[in-house]
């Protein structure tokens, strides 16, 4: 397992009861790459992302994030996670939510960083508004701000474009392009093949818990996003 890989996954298994949700998954993601993690519903994408994010443990196998354990404190300091849920508190304002996570991520000036990200996501005018009063799009932009708040080196995004409004998609795409230009690593699971493949440098396809394909994103995939499923996935 090369210690220099941003993410190194070796022989990972995960069981839910007797059912193997992940079966002997092994691959590496190098720093600065953007990996699109593809697969049908229930293939195991979210399970794998949760293990990478330190939210769940593999039954067998090893995961190293920048050479360290996923649950190590300094590893988590360098990971930004955007899951299915937006991960922000309804009873707090947008500013209070970001300030809370800025403190948890030990950012030196939580106030300034929170205000900066409220502005970058276009939420500065509603900074003091409670999240429970926000529209869906505003909540999603706040979730994006929470994910990027601490300048993570590795971004783990689970279905990041699902149910985003146009403005939030634009915000997220711009942020991801900027993050990749800065050499950060991105792993995103998605069903929105076209948006994901436009950003991706690499692709991994999971089929019923097994790694069915791992390689670079090719022009062929970009022109015909369904190609990968037809060749390596289920019909």
């Amino acid at each position: 397992m090369p210690a220099t890989s941003a993410v190194a996954i070796e022989g990972v298994w995960k069981f839910f009861g007797d059912y193997p949700a992940l079966r002997d998954i092994s691959f590496n993601v190098e720093g600065g790459d953007c990996l699109a993690l593809l697969g049908r519903n229930g293939a195991g994408k979210t399970t794998l992302l949760r293990i990478l994010a330190g939210l769940s443990k593999a039954a067998k196998g090893r995961v190293a994030i920048m050479g360290k354990d996923a649950r190590a404190e300094d590893t988590r300091q360098r990971i930004g996670v955007l899951g299915h849920g937006i991960g922000v508190y309804e009873e707090l304002s947008a500013y209070e939510n970001l300030r809370l996570f800025a403190r948890l991520y030990r950012i030196p000036d939580p106030r300034a960083r929170s205000l900066e990200w409220l502005e970058r996501t276009g939420l500065d005018r509603v900074a003091d508004g409670l999240v429970r009063e926000f529209s869906r799009g505003m909540r999603q932009r706040l979730a994006v701000a929470r994910t990027f708040l601490h300048n993570p080196s590795l971004l783990l995004l689970d279905e990041p474009f699902t149910s985003l409004d146009d403005r939030a998609i634009k915000v997220l795409q711009d942020l991801l392009k900027a993050a990749l230009a800065e050499g950060r690593t991105v792993i995103m699971s998605t069903h929105q093949l076209r948006e994901a493949l436009e950003l991706a440098t690499d692709v991994a396809l999971i089929n019923r818990g097994r790694l069915a394909f791992r390689g670079e994103r090719t022009q062929e995939m970009l022109e015909d996003p369904g190609w990968l499923y037809r060749h390596y996935g289920e019909a």
Binding site: A53, G85, V88, F101, Y105, L130, R146
Partner: protein
Amino acid sequence: MNFLRQAWAVAAKDLRSEVRSKETVNASLSFALVILLLFSFAFDPDAEQVRQISGGLLWLVFAFAGTLILNRSFARELVNDCLDALIASPATGAQIFFGKCVANYTLLVAVECVCLPIFAVFYNVKLPQRIALLFLVMLLGTWGITVIGTLFSAMTVNLRLRELMLPTLIYPMLIPALIGAIQLSTVLLGNDPLGTENQIWFRLLVVFDLIFTALALTLVEIVLVG
């Protein structure tokens, strides 16, 4: 210092959310007041009976009302998958747990501080001359309830029947602490002398709190992540 700073961020978040929503304090307080009111009509006790049952009655109310607060402690993190966001942050399980304990403890003590004078009025009990000692018993007993309740709240957070499971699991664990708190409260509320034979209950409460705080801080990472 870093441990406390992270824990305080979690505690402050929980307290701020509760101040805005009042979802658990209102439920807990109204439940406690209803029990106190109903028991005062049910028993109609004379002074001697009150002297004998006061400690038990008080802690029965505290334990039942406390469960309502503790039940929501981790359950409120399920909205928008906030628990995942917390666990994914660099805050350790112990820091998240301790922060939640501080918030729950503050809410429980606040409810108890409202209930105590109402209890005194309903049951015609004179608050003891040694009220500082009674308050100390309340603080020690409540910390025991808080630590056990918060840990089991984390353990049951993903269960469908968590509202039923939490009381079922925590009350047996709390028996030693509750016995100690009841014995001491009965003596203090009756203005009886606190002899050396009762001091063991103080020691029991302190040891119970220390042991279960240490155990919970050690185990909570496994509880939260597996």
